[in-house]
């Protein structure tokens, strides 16, 4: 069994990176919009399917080097990121903002999010059906990175891209004027307003970033190896476990939370049957809520 640990760690890092990308959006909505957006997982699905549309028209491209796809798929992911970001903002305008203006209680927001999630998911089923789709049917040969650790070139690429996206976001949040305004809003919308920060502009940007990262997570999930209407929904609990594990509102927290959930899911496969893998985020969530409810990076005075 111990021989399988390095492989489980590598797989866990990959799953973790994807979960982290999604969890960043969850933590942003929790902190800046102040509600649990259970429709966030559907943004992953939308992103994946928007990229599929582009791929259907443009093709996945001729495989570049060891990868199973060409630049077309990357372009598709970018288009998906932009459109999913705008979709997230549109859904906020249509649903959540109206409720916020009426000072809806948190439970109302949660149920509205569930409603939005159902509509979003079934819209995908309506258009593409329940069956699986593939961006590309190229076969890949796993490379042995370290003794006993095999990863597909696509997976290595995804891991690198996900980490690059998170580093870029971190630089944006800590260095740029707009990023700092977002962090200010996350702590105190009232004081942010006093400082002349336009609350609506920050909210819009938050949705666009959250949606774009969700789309990347969705495309990456769809690439390893297929997409179906539940790819986002299946990750829902992992996303929330990661966001809460890291301490809401913290980007490093969401990233670390994502990796921890990913690793826990994959390491658990060494001792339990894959059928129970889905319970791991539940267990982690329970443990963190009991032991350190403010999360790893959480806690303010």
């Amino acid at each position: 069994m111990s021989a399988a640990i390095p492989q489980a760690l590598a797989d866990g890092m990959l799953t973790g990176a994807i979960i982290a990308l999604g969890a960043i959006g969850v933590t942003f909505t929790l902190e800046i919009m102040r509600f649990a957006n259970f429709a966030h997982s559907e943004l992953l699905t939308w992103g994946a399917y928007i990229a599929l549309v582009v791929v259907v028209f443009a093709g996945p491209g001729t495989p570049t080097g060891p990868l199973s796809f060409g630049w077309q798929l990357l372009a598709a992911a970018l288009v998906a990121a932009v459109l999913t970001g705008l979709a997230a903002w549109a859904i906020d305008t249509l649903v959540f903002r109206r409720l916020r203006r009426r000072a809806a209680p948190p439970l109302t927001m949660v149920f509205a999010a569930f409603g939005a999630a159902l509509v979003m998911r079934h819209l995908i089923v309506l258009i593409w059906g329940h069956q699986s789709h593939y961006y590309t049917r190229e076969l890949q040969i796993a490379a042995e990175l370290l003794p006993g650790v095999r990863m597909l070139p696509d997976q290595i690429f995804i891991l690198g891209l996900a980490i690059a996206a998170m580093v870029a976001l971190h630089v944006f949040l800590t260095r740029s004027r707009t990023g700092m305004a977002m962090r200010a809003m996350a702590e105190s919308p009232a004081l942010a307003q006093v400082c002349g920060i336009e609350v609506d502009a920050v909210v819009r940007l938050t949705w666009i970033i959250s949606g774009a990262l969700a789309a990347f997570a969705g495309v990456f999930t769809g690439l390893t190896p297929q997409l179906h209407p539940e790819i986002g929904f299946n990750l829902l609990l992992s996303l929330f476990a990661a966001a809460i594990l890291g301490g809401t509102g913290s980007l490093p927290g969401a990233v670390l939370g994502g990796f921890l959930v990913g690793l826990a899911e994959n390491l658990s496969l060494l001792v339990i049957s894959p059928g129970y893998k889905g319970a791991m985020p539940f267990l982690l969530l329970l443990a963190i809520l009991l032991l350190r409810p403010q999360g790893i990076f959480g806690g303010r005075d």
Binding site: R177, M180, A181, A184, E187, V194, G196, G249
Partner: protein, 240 residues
């Protein structure tokens, strides 16, 4: 005095919920180089008045003019750009951001680089310079108040409004805050502050207003309010 007035609030009606005003037609003025104190019992609408001027709550009637320009009910960010800065009583620093980041966020509406303004803030409040990389949650009460004021000054305001700037501070720090405000007023800023500590506030102010139940009850030079028997009896804890 009227001709020199810089901030002119006339018959302002404002509150948190439309149709339920807390401020019922307040008229006050403030000139540059002047400290104006708003005093009165709890619930008189003093803080609400500041929030209404800052554009944070609904204004239902009356006008706010700054240097002749009507800024009534503009969005809060435009009011900040017009030269009005506000230091709320509580939650007036971002505890999760560093001192340096707090000041940068304070300059959010200023286009272009703000490094000269940052250096100026540190020169004005040297204790902040030593703590610039620390998160604001680690600051003492006095240092937080300093940071809150420094943050508000980042936009080069011409009107600085403070809601109970000395609440909860040690007497020695209270004196220091008042001394700083005097210095700021002397640079040409109009300072408008709400104070619980009415006697101390009036002694450093040039002018004062007494608010009760959302209306202006008395107004005039701070010295004359201190000497006014009715004000002294009701709001200053007896005659002296």
């Amino acid at each position: 005095m009227i001709a020199a007035s810089y901030l002119h609030v006339s018959d302002l009606v404002a509150g948190y919920v439309r149709g339920l005003p807390v401020v019922h037609g307040v008229t006050i003025e403030a000139a540059r180089r002047e400290i104006v104190a708003l005093i009165g019992p709890n619930g008189a609408g003093k803080s609400t008045l500041l929030k209404a001027i800052a554009g944070l709550i609904t204004t239902e009637g009356g006008h706010v003019r700054l240097d002749g320009r009507d800024v009534t009910a503009l969005p809060a960010h435009e009011i900040v750009s017009s030269g009005i800065a506000f230091v709320p009583q509580t939650g007036n620093v971002f505890t999760t951001l560093t001192v340096h980041e707090n000041l940068k966020v304070g300059a959010h509406v200023i286009p272009g680089p703000v490094s000269d303004r940052l250096e100026r803030a540190y020169a004005l409040f040297p204790p902040l310079a030593a703590r610039r990389a620390l998160r604001a949650r680690t600051l003492s009460g006095g240092e937080r108040q300093m940071l809150a004021i420094a943050r508000a000054l980042m936009t080069d305001p011409t009107l600085l409004m403070l809601d109970e700037p000395t609440a909860g501070l040690a007497p020695r720090v209270v004196e220091e805050v008042f001394r700083q405000l005097r210095g700021l007023a002397d640079t040409g800023i109009a300072v408008l502050m709400v104070e619980q500590n009415a006697r101390a506030a009036l002694s450093v102010s040039d002018r004062g207003y007494v608010l009760t139940e959302g209306r202006t009850r008395f107004g005039g030079p701070a010295r004359s309010l201190l000497d006014e028997p009715r004000v002294a009896e009701a709001f200053l804890g007896g005659r002296r």
